[in-house]
Subunit: 430 residues, 3 copies
C-alpha cells in the first residue's frame, strides 16, 4: 500500500471502531435519560451491534453498497461483498466504489456496518418498553437487509438513482437520522394501532428519570463516536478530514450553548442536564449532512440555530398523545437530520466539498451559488421526500406483517414502568 | 521511518492501547456479573495494570521475548530489553523479532505488556473474594516474570522450542486463554486444599447478581479491546490486519446468536444478558488463535459452534463442588481457547496465514491440507499439552510456596458474600 | 501529504481525541471520590468541554498560539487562527509554529483545545459545590481567552518570552498542572474571603465517599487520555513519541506502587483505592513536563519519588482550615507539576529531548549537564515563579470582579452536602 492508502485505511477503520461504539452508547443514553433500571436498553443495543455485523456480512453490505440493479438496490449476489468473499480472500481487495482512496472491502464494511447498527439503535428508542423482543429481533434482520439499505443504495452508493441525480448527504442527515425517524414512525404508528385496539385513548408515556452518570458516559461515547462518524465519512485521511473534525465539534459546542440558553429563557432552569446533552446531540445531528462541505464559521452559525429548533420541535412532538418519544427521535434525529440536509443548499462551499469527494457540489445560496444552489435544493427536497416515504412504508409494512404473524408487536406496557423479571431478563426489549 | 514502518508502529501501538483497557474491563465484567459492590475487582485490575507495566519493563519483557536460552526462556539480561534499555535510548530501535515490520521496542513492549496484564486479569477471576490481596500481589510479580513468560517464550518468541517445531497460536488461544485457565486451575486447587482443611465439604459459591450497566461497559470495552488484540497481532498494518478485524467481529456476532439460541432452547429464557455477553466473549476467544489464518465464512462457522460448546462446558464445570468459577474462566477461556487452537488444523488457509506472518502454515483439513494438516494438528496438541501442564505446575507451585510463607492464601470467604470495610478497602482482593 | 506528514497529523489528532475525553473523566473522578450523587460534576465538565471548543475556536487559540505581541500574548487577530479561518479554508494549512512536522491548523487546534479544557476541569475541582454555576460559566470564558493562554503563550508558543529564554515544559507540568493549581488558589482564596465574611471559622469540608465504579472508569479514561497527552506532545509520530508512551506508563506504574506502599506504611491499610488511583495520577503528573526528555529508567526513579511526595503534600494541605481540596488539586497537580518541571534540570538527556523537538536542551545534572544544567534549573525556577504568580493574579482578579458584579461567587454550601434539586438541576456547579 502507498502512504496515502495506508493512511486512508488506518483512518477509516479506526473511525469505524469509534462509530461501532455508538450503538451501545445509545443504550446508555436511554438509561441516562430514563433511569438506571432499563436493563432491556442495554441488551437491545448489544444485540443490535452483533446482528448488524452478522446480517450485513451475509448480504446487507451488498444490498446497500454493491453495484445497484437499476439504481434501486445493491446486487445481493455481487461476489466480493456476498459474505465478504466467503472462503476466498476477496475481502482484502479495494471495494469498487471507494477504490480511488484504496479502501479495502474490510475497511469499508466495518465503517458502514457501524453506521447501519447505530441507525437501528436510533429507530429502537421508539420501541422502548413497548415492542416485543422477538418482534424487534426479526425486524432487525429485515432492517439490515432492506430498510437501511434503501436510502444508502439510493444516495451513498454512487450507482444509486438519487446519487446520479446529484443528491448529496455527507455523513447521513437523511440516510441515518432522517431515515431512523421515518422507520421509527412506521413502528410507532403500529404501536398506536394496537394500543387503540386495546381501548387506550392515550399512548402511555415512558417515565423520565435522569441518571447523570450513564448520561455522561453516553454523551462522551457519542461525541467520540461522531469523531469517527463525520471525519471518517471523507473516506480518506486528507486535509478535509481534519477540517471535518472541527466543523463537527464546533457545531456541537455552539448547539450546546444555544440549546441551554433557549431552555433557560423558556424555563429559567440553569444548565438542565437534558438540554445540555440534547443540545450537543442536536448540533452533531444538524452538522452531519454537511460537515464536509462547510467552513468552521458556518458550523458556528448552524450550531446556534439548533437550540430554538430543537426546543420548539420537542414542544410540538410532546403534544402528540398517540405516541411516546422519550429520547427525542423525532425532534432530534428526524427534524435535525432533514434540516441539516436542506442547509446544504445554503451553506455548502465548493472548496470544502471538493476535499471530501464532491468536486461537483455547487456553492450554497449564501456563498453565491445562485441557480445551481436552488437546483441543488430541489434535488435535496426530492430526495428527502422519496427516502422518508420509502423507509416509512417499508418499516410499517414489516411491522404489519410481524403483527399479523405474532398477534401484535406490542407488550403490555403501562405507565407504571417496564416489567423486569428478577433473573435480569427483560420482559420487553428496551 | 518509511510509510509502512510508520503505519505498522502506529497501528500496533494503538492496538496496544486498546488491549491495555481490557484488564480493567475484566474487573468491570466481574462487577457486571456479580453485583456492583465488588470494589475489590476494580482495585485488583487497576493493580494488575500497573504491576504489569512495571514488572514487564524491568525483566518480564525479556523473559518472554528476548532471544531464548535453549528455546526455553528469554534471556533476562538481553540488553535492549532489560529495563527497556535503562538510561540508554535503545528502546527506540526495532526489536529483534519484529524488525521485519520495523516495530520499535517501545511499540512491541506496550502491545505485549497489555497482553500479559489481561491474561493475569483472567486468571484472577478465579481468585475472586477467596485469595488474600497480599498473596495475589506477590503472585502477580512471579506471574509476569515467569508464568506468563513460559508459553510466550515457547510459542510466540520465534526462538522458542515450540515455535521452531512449527506450533502457531495467532493471538493467544493457548498463550492467553488456555494458559489463564491452567494458571487459574493451579490456584483454585490450592484454595480447595485450604477449604478442605477447614472442614468444608463444598467450596462456597460466589453470589451472582447482574448489574446491567457495568456488564454493558465491560462487553463494550472488551469488544473494542479485541479490535486491538487480534488485528494488532498481525504486528503490522497490512491487508491481512483488516481481514482480521472482520473475522474477529463476525465470530463474536455469530457466537452471540448461537449462544443465545442454545440458552433459549434449554431454558426458554429470551435474551438472558449473561448468555448474550458470554456468547460474544466465547466467539472472541475461539477465533483468537486463528483469526489471522481463516476466511470470513470460516469465522461464521466457528462462531456458530460456540453456543453449544460454551453452554455444555458451563454445565459440566458447574457440577464441580470443589470450586467456584463465577465468571466462566474454565468453560470460556480454557475450553474456548484450546478448542480454537485445535481448529487451526481444520480451518487455516495459507493465503490468509501468509499475510499475518505465517507463510509456512499449511491449509487445514477442510481446505485440502491432508497430511500436512494432520501433522499440524499433532504439533498443536503437543503444544497444548506441555504448555497447560507447565503453566499449571508453575502456578500451583507458586501458590504452594506462598501458602507456606503466609499461613495459607485464602480469606475467610463465606457464601454470605465478600466483606468490604467501610473505608473502601477490600478485605479480599476481588 | 508525505508519509511523515500523514502520520504526524493522524497521531496528533487521535491523541487530541484521547485528551478530549479527559475533561469529562475529571468529572467522573470527582464522582468516584466524592460519591455518586454529584450530578453537577458531570454537567460542569460537559459544559467545560463544549465551551473550550467554542471559545478557543473564536479567539483563545490565537491568544495562546498565534505569533505573540512582544512575547506576551498571541495576536488575537492573526488570520488563519481567528475563528479557524472563518468562512475561508485556511484551517487546512499547516499552523506556523508546527509546520516543520506539517501539522494542520485543525489538528493542532483540536490537540491544544483539549489541553485547555482539561486544565480548566482541574481548576474546577476546587470550585466543587461552592461556586455558583453562572459565575463559573463566565469565568470559563475569561479562562480560555486569557488565563490559560498566558503560560501557553509564554512557554509553549515559540515566540513567547520564556520559550525564547530557553524554558521548556514538555507536556505541561507548569502550563497545565502548575497553572491549574495557581488558578485554583485564586478562586479558593475568594471563596474563603466570602466564607469568612459570613462568619465561618473553618471552610466547610466536602464529604468523601468512594464510588469504586466511577473511580475506575475515571482512572481508565485518564490513563488512556495521558497516552494522548504526553506522547502526542511530541507533535509528531516518530521514535521519540513511542519512547514517551513508555516513560509515561512506567512513571504511572511505579508511582502507583510507591504511593500504595507509603500509604501502607503510614496507615497499615492495604490497597486503599484512593491511594492506588492518586498514585497513578501523581506519576502521570510528575512525568508530564519531562516525559519527552528522559529514559525509561529515569521514569522509574521519578515514579518511585511520587509516593512520599504526594502523601506528605496531602498531609500538609489537609491541615489548612480555610479551604477544602477534596480531589487533590494542590498536593497532586500544583506540587507534582512543579516538582516535575524542576526535575528537567536533573534527569534530562539530550538524546531523548532532541527527538521531541528540543535539540538544544542540555543534559541534566545527573547526566553530566554541569553548568548548563544549573542554568537550565534557574530558567525553570524563574518560569515557575512568574507563571504561577501571573495565573494566580489573573484568576483572582477575575473572581473578584465577578464577585462584585454578582454579589459573591459562592453558594450556600454546608458540610451537610450539596443541594441537588429534584429535576436534576445542580444548585451549585460541581
Amino acid at each position: 500500500m502507498t502512504a496515502a492508502v495506508l493512511a486512508n485505511n488506518l483512518w477509516v477503520i479506526l473511525c469505524g471502531l469509534f462509530v461501532f461504539m455508538m450503538t451501545i452508547a445509545v443504550g446508555l443514553l436511554e438509561v441516562g435519560e430514563l433511569g438506571h433500571r432499563v436493563i432491556g436498553s442495554l441488551v437491545k443495543t448489544i444485540l443490535i451491534t452483533g446482528l448488524a455485523v452478522l446480517v450485513m456480512a451475509i448480504v446487507g453490505f451488498n444490498t446497500a453498497f454493491a453495484p445497484t440493479i437499476g439504481g434501486v438496490i445493491g446486487n445481493p449476489l455481487y461476489g466480493p461483498g456476498l459474505f465478504l468473499g466467503g472462503f476466498s480472500p476477496g475481502i482484502a481487495d479495494s471495494w469498487w466504489s471507494v477504490s480511488g482512496a484504496g479502501l479495502r472491502t474490510g475497511t469499508y464494511f466495518l465503517f458502514e456496518t457501524a453506521f447501519a447498527a447505530v441507525t437501528l439503535a436510533l429507530v429502537a428508542v421508539i420501541a422502548l418498553h413497548k415492542m416485543k423482543p422477538s418482534a424487534f429481533a426479526i425486524y432487525s434482520v429485515v432492517y439490515f437487509v432492506l430498510i437501511w439499505a434503501v436510502p444508502a443504495a439510493w444516495i451513498w452508493n454512487p450507482s444509486g438513482w438519487l446519487a446520479k441525480l446529484g443528491m448529496v448527504d455527507f455523513a447521513g442527515g437523511l440516510v441515518v437520522h432522517g431515515a431512523a425517524g421515518a422507520a421509527g414512525l412506521g413502528i410507532v404508528w403500529q404501536i398506536w394501532r394496537e394500543e387503540k385496539a386495546k381501548g387506550l385513548k392515550v399512548s402511555p408515556p415512558v417515565h423520565y428519570e435522569v441518571n447523570a452518570g450513564w448520561l455522561t458516559v453516553a454523551i462522551l461515547l457519542l461525541w467520540v463516536g461522531w469523531f469517527g462518524f463525520n471525519p471518517g465519512s471523507v473516506l480518506a485521511f486528507n486535509d478535509e478530514a481534519i477540517v471535518v473534525v472541527e466543523t463537527t465539534f464546533i457545531a456541537a459546542a455552539c448547539a450546546m450553548v444555544s440549546t441551554s440558553m433557549t431552555a433557560y429563557i423558556l424555563t429559567r432552569e440553569v444548565f438542565n442536564p437534558l438540554y445540555v446533552v440534547n443540545g450537543i446531540l442536536m448540533g452533531l445531528i444538524v452538522i452531519t449532512p454537511l460537515a464536509g462541505f462547510v467552513s468552521p464559521a458556518s458550523a458556528l452559525v448552524l450550531g446556534l440555530l439548533c437550540g430554538p429548533i430543537f426546543v420548539y420541535a420537542e414542544k410540538v412532538v410532546g403534544r402528540a398523545k398517540w405516541m411516546s418519544d422519550p429520547v427525542g427521535l423525532f425532534p432530534g434525529h428526524l427534524v435535525g437530520g432533514i434540516f441539516g440536509v436542506l442547509m446544504i443548499a445554503f451553506f455548502a462551499q465548493n472548496q470544502f466539498a471538493a476535499g471530501s469527494g464532491f468536486p461537483g457540489l455547487p456553492n450554497g445560496v449564501l456563498f453565491g451559488g445562485g441557480g445551481a444552489a436552488v437546483k441543488q435544493l430541489g434535488i435535496e427536497v426530492l430526495g428527502i421526500g422519496v427516502a422518508v416515504i420509502a423507509v416509512f412504508v417499508l418499516s410499517h409494512l414489516t411491522v404489519r406483517v410481524l403483527a399479523a404473524l405474532m398477534q401484535g408487536i406490542t407488550t403490555n406496557y403501562t405507565e407504571a414502568g417496564p416489567v423486569e423479571t428478577t433473573s435480569g431478563v427483560p420482559a420487553a426489549l428496551g
